[in-house]
């Protein structure tokens, strides 16, 4: 595995060397070394998860070709138990960005930010994912084309996009004739207030099929063959957001509403009395799902931005169709709360994290009270740097 990773990095570096002119090239690395301890009912010494990992190992290559044309590629080299060498590499961003004649607006094509709710501006002050990301509403990046930019006089930002709608992990395997359409507006009418809303719709998402049972199930004369074409259709998600900032205090929040209809099919094998297959019948079914949740993150910045103290409160409710009614799945609906802090040993020039220690505790309490609350402790060293390579100085 490491040879594969190395060869990709070397290839990327080689591309860089031949791409220096005429503007700047930026090389960036984000490394997140994390310890996670997860247990039911605060059993730190008897955890279900206790591990060190490199949660993120982004390598970013950005190149400003001209004032109007910019390209970027990000690969993530991170720890993964799925591979024998304990690490893998994945493509996280790869896009070309063209400045439009409209002031402050760009056309971006490729694997890029998914401008939904808080997910695209989530800066990991809280080291865990945004709610939409965490609950699989959408991924933080997706393949698509967007028009994105800023309104005059600092009034806010606007993005319109068309995406695969399946996230960065899926591309090209399936025919996708119902791409995702997305709109996002965020307004900053005055200092201390940002409010906005996002919506995406009309995308089929093939990604959940991996989580479904497929292939042969059952025994004897009761055998069912699941069809792999399980698809979530008629997806619709909305996410209004707000950020209030006053001095060192800020409160960021969003509401997420998400629903879809899951379409799936299976073959029921019909046997005769001696166990010989007579025929099979294809059955198609649909089932509606509806999700909703809120996420609130209050943050206090102290000691000249060296320290951030944060809290978090989230709710998530999952409803599933049973006959004609929607029923709450209490096993997968929860309230989550927690707190933590960040200590910045060093920041980069534009205020971004440089060397930072993060700690967060999170408790998840399921609506099914028979399930014990889940406690997660996370300690992370975040080390990030960038360098700008100019033609000559």
């Amino acid at each position: 595995m490491h040879k594969k990773v190395l060869s990709i990095v070397v290839a990327l570096m080689a591309t860089l060397i031949f791409a220096l002119e005429p503007g700047e090239t930026e090389l960036e690395h984000n490394g997140w070394f994390r310890y996670t301890n997860q247990s039911s009912g605060l059993k730190l010494l008897d955890p279900s998860i206790s591990r060190f990992s490199l949660e993120r190992g982004y390598l970013r290559f950005s190149h400003q070709w001209t004032a109007k044309f910019f390209t970027k590629m990000t690969v993530d080299i991170f720890s993964s138990d799925k591979y024998p060498d304990g690490a893998t590499v994945r493509l996280k961003e790869a896009f070309a960005d063209l400045t439009l004649p409209l002031p402050d607006f760009n056309l971006t094509a490729g694997l890029q930010k998914h401008y939904f709710g808080l997910i695209y501006s989530w800066d990991y002050t809280h080291p865990e994912k945004s709610l939409a990301d965490d609950q699989g509403v959408c991924a933080s990046a997706d393949y698509g084309v967007t028009v994105n930019g800023f309104l005059p006089n600092g009034l806010g930002e606007l993005q319109l996009g068309i995406y695969n709608g399946e996230g960065y992990k899926y591309a090209g395997k399936y025919v996708n004739l119902s791409p995702e359409l997305l709109a996002n507006l965020r307004l900053t009418p005055f200092a201390g207030l940002a409010l906005g809303a996002s919506v995406f719709t009309n995308a089929s998402d093939y990604s959940p099929y991996k989580n479904d049972k497929k292939g042969r199930t059952g025994t004897g004369t009761n055998i069912v063959f699941m069809n792999a074409d399980t698809t979530n259709k008629n997806r619709l998600a909305i996410a209004p957001m707000v950020k209030i900032a006053f001095g060192p205090f800020s409160l960021t929040g969003e509401y997420i509403g998400y629903n879809y209809t899951r379409w799936f099919s299976y073959y029921k094998i019909n046997f005769d009395s001696v166990g010989q297959i007579i025929d099979s019948t294809l059955t198609e079914k649909t089932k509606k799902y509806a999700f909703s949740g809120i996420d609130l993150v209050p943050t206090l910045v102290l000691l000249k931005r060296r320290v951030e103290v944060f809290g978090r409160f989230s709710t998530w409710e999952r409803k599933e169709q049973h006959d004609d009614s929607m029923v709450v799945n209490k096993d997968k609906s929860f309230i989550r709360y927690g707190a933590g802090f960040n200590y910045h040993f060093a920041r980069r020039e534009k205020g971004k994290p440089g060397l930072e220690f993060q700690f967060a505790w999170t408790r998840t309490q399921f609506k099914n009270t028979e399930i014990k609350p889940n406690d997660s402790f996370l300690a992370q060293v975040r080390f990030e740097w960038n360098t700008i390579i100019t033609k000559q100085q």
């Binding site: 002119e21 005429p22 503007g23 700047e24 400003q64 001209t66 004032a67 109007k68 002031p103 402050d104 800023f150 309104l151 005059p152 006089n153 600092g154 009034l155 806010g156 930002e157 900053t188 009418p189 005055f190 200092a191 201390g192 207030l193 940002a194 950020k243 900032a245 006053f246 001095g247 800020s250 910045v301 000249k304 931005r305 020039e349 534009k350 205020g351 100019t390 033609k391 000559q392 100085q393």
Partner: protein
């Protein structure tokens, strides 16, 4: 124990002596000027320490967005994107113009060329005119010196003069002084720098510049023309604060805009603010 107590008292007293600090960061063009203003201000209000650093306009503006500084120096106007980020952070960027700058186009002192139009300079920096002989000069290849993209001067010059892309062979320098040194040592060189950087400098000369071929060609040294806005490459130099400046920050800015402050502006090779900017500043400060 007594020693420790007296040490603590000493530290406390020294802290009280410099009770307030005003942190200024940003434009390299404005660095020397703001440092001189800060030094003069120290004589007026010794209990305030004004610390000034450079890094470029973009760096300064980012610092005010992140509440890291009290004043951002910028040789370009703040962008819409930056205002939006600032507001989301609870910061209201407030703009003050402390001086005007005529951007000087300089060549080596031995270069025969004395004047150029904006179109000619643009063509030079786009890489369309490549030899001084095409402009009445010696048969010598033109070597372009310019700033880096994080510089407000880079952006201003691109928008006002280049009106397209800089030629790929332009040599990007860290600051104004480096451009002056580069052109001084290069007979084929051409560069653009803030007025303050050609003050009393030998080895380079500023070109007279005109909007049109028929003129008038104006030298950036002609302060009256720069002040009237007749010189084609005149630009305001900005400072940004979070909301209306108050206390020591306000005192420092008011000193910059006072006749004593504006005299330093002039001595540093820049141009004092004109009536329309004085009026705008008054609205902000009141």
């Amino acid at each position: 124990m007594k020693k420790i107590l007296s040490l603590i008292t000493l530290v406390a007293m020294s802290t009280m002596l410099i009770a307030k600090e005003v942190v200024v960061k940003g434009s390299d063009t404005m660095l020397n000027l703001t440092q001189r203003l800060a030094e003069a201000f120290a004589a007026v209000q010794p209990d305030v320490l004004v610390s000034v650093s450079g890094g470029g306009s973009g760096v300064g503006i980012n610092a005010i967005i992140n509440r890291e500084v009290d004043i951002a120096n910028a040789s370009r106007k703040i962008k819409s994107k930056e205002i939006s980020s600032a507001r989301a952070n609870g910061v209201q960027p407030t703009e003050i113009v402390i001086a005007l700058d005529g951007l000087a186009v300089i060549v080596n002192a031995n270069n025969r060329v004395e004047k150029l139009t904006i179109d000619q300079i643009g063509a030079i920096y786009r890489g369309e005119i490549t030899n001084w002989s095409q402009l009445g000069g010696a048969n010598k290849k033109i070597v372009l010196y310019g700033r880096q993209p994080n510089s407000g001067t880079f952006v201003f010059f691109r928008e006002m003069v280049v009106k397209g892309e800089y030629a790929s062979h332009m040599i990007q320098m860290n600051g104004n002084s480096q451009i002056v040194e580069g052109v001084k040592a290069d007979e084929g060189g051409i560069g653009y720098v803030g007025l303050g950087y050609i003050h009393d400098v030998n080895g380079v000369k500023p070109l007279s510049v005109a909007q049109k071929a028929e003129g008038p060609f104006i030298s950036p040294g002609d302060v009256a023309s720069v002040k009237r806005g007749d010189y084609p490459l005149t630009r305001p130099l900005y400072q940004y604060t979070n909301g209306k400046p108050k206390g020591a920050i306000r005192n420092f800015i008011q000193f910059e805009l006072s006749s004593a402050g504006q005299k330093i502006v002039e001595e540093a090779g820049f141009v004092p603010v004109t009536e329309n900017y004085i009026e705008r500043n008054r609205t902000v400060l009141e």
